[in-house]
């Protein structure tokens, strides 16, 4: 029992200290590292409650993947730029929030202590936690029987998240970019400098409007291809392979 109390106190102190660090540090990198401390503390508390599999997953997914993702984004934006995102919150809002947080904390702790060691609800009959098997086996049995539909929805969710992340962060061809951040322009611009005279046609709204009013091209279909020019002047006609190459370079 004394070992349990000692473990709880040490891990709990790490958790609370890390949580305070996330809120109080100014530098986003320090925030992320404090978050790691909290996540490790929670993993230790999982082990103390015999949730070994969840503790491993906690370390691998949270500390190993999520926090690294945070650090990637901080480094991508630049630490100075990420730090400059902070505005001074209004003092009134800060005061009210801290008061509200204190009320939330005191209220929930009071309720918990008043309830003592009891919990509403009934002990499980069909899926007991101490059913004799290891926790991985019990968890796997629950996920692949009772929760199998939720598990499959989870797979769909992850796919949607990956596709969404790609769509959100991808820049379409011809979209404006921040020239202060990338003084050389896009990869397509750099490629164009090395390959002059092979511009990729980028359709944009103004161009479309011009075409509709163009008397020489009443259908708005763009320049008609002259069939006789095909073999006679290969230098004028752009080779087919070059366009797909251009598209790849622009992305």
């Amino acid at each position: 029992m004394r070992v349990e109390v000692f473990t709880f106190l040490v891990a709990g102190a790490i958790c609370v200290g890390g949580a305070l660090g996330v809120v109080l540090f100014r530098n986003p990198v320090h925030n992320a590292l404090s978050l790691v401390a909290t996540l490790f503390g929670v993993a230790v508390l999982f082990i103390a409650q015999e949730a070994y599999f969840l503790a491993a997953i906690q370390v691998i997914v949270y500390a190993g993947a999520i926090v690294i993702l945070f650090l990637f984004v901080i480094m991508l934006l630049g630490v100075d730029r990420a730090e400059a995102l902070e505005s001074d919150p209004f003092h009134l809002r800060r005061t009210i929030t801290i008061l509200g947080g204190a009320v939330l904390l005191v209220g929930s702790v009071a309720i918990l202590l008043a309830a003592g060691q009891r919990a509403t609800g009934r002990e499980s009959v069909t899926a007991p936690l101490d059913g004799g098997a290891s926790d991985v086996e019990r968890l796997g049995r629950a996920i692949f029987t009772d929760y199998v539909f939720a598990f499959e929805i989870t797979a769909l969710l992850l796919t949607v998240a990956v596709v969404g992340a790609v769509v959100l962060t991808r820049r379409s061809v011809g979209a404006p970019i921040d020239l202060e951040e990338f003084p050389d322009g896009t990869a397509y611009d750099i490629w164009l400098e090395d390959h002059p005279g092979s511009e990729l046609e980028v359709p944009d709204a103004e161009d479309e409007l011009d075409r509709e009013d163009d008397p020489a091209d009443p259908d708005g279909l763009g320049d008609p291809v002259e069939p006789e020019a095909d073999e006679a002047e290969p230098a004028v006609v752009e080779p087919v392979g070059s366009e797909s190459e251009t598209t790849e370079a622009a992305r």
Binding site: V23, P28, I66, V73, A142, G164
Partner: protein
């Protein structure tokens, strides 16, 4: 009241949750706000595991498993949104992002 038990875990989770909630509202840096959301999710996870122990039910740990997956997906999409916004506006903190305000 002061003997060691599962309610200690619940109290600790309440403390972490309150810190995360306050941080979410006080800080204006979208990255730090996301970290505060992660704190709150972890506090809830701790509560689920503690209740699973208290009621001798594997359901608590199962829910934590799903919360972990959803948290990972949420962080991926959220950080992608932040990167997409930062590409267009250099100094966008959470107060400036009011385009969708009704």
């Amino acid at each position: 009241m002061f003997t060691f038990g599962d309610s200690w875990y619940l109290v600790l989770a309440a403390i972490i949750f309150a810190i995360g909630a306050v941080g979410l509202i006080v800080r204006r840096n979208p990255l730090v706000m996301f970290m505060c959301v992660e704190l709150m999710l972890n506090a809830v996870n701790l509560t689920f595991v503690a209740f699973g122990n208290l009621l001798n039910d594997v359901g608590g740990q199962t829910v934590v498993f799903f919360v972990l997956v959803v948290a990972a997906a949420e962080v991926v999409v959220g950080l992608a949104i932040i990167v997409a916004i930062m590409r267009r506006r250099a100094d966008a903190n959470a107060d400036d992002l009011s385009l969708l305000r009704g």
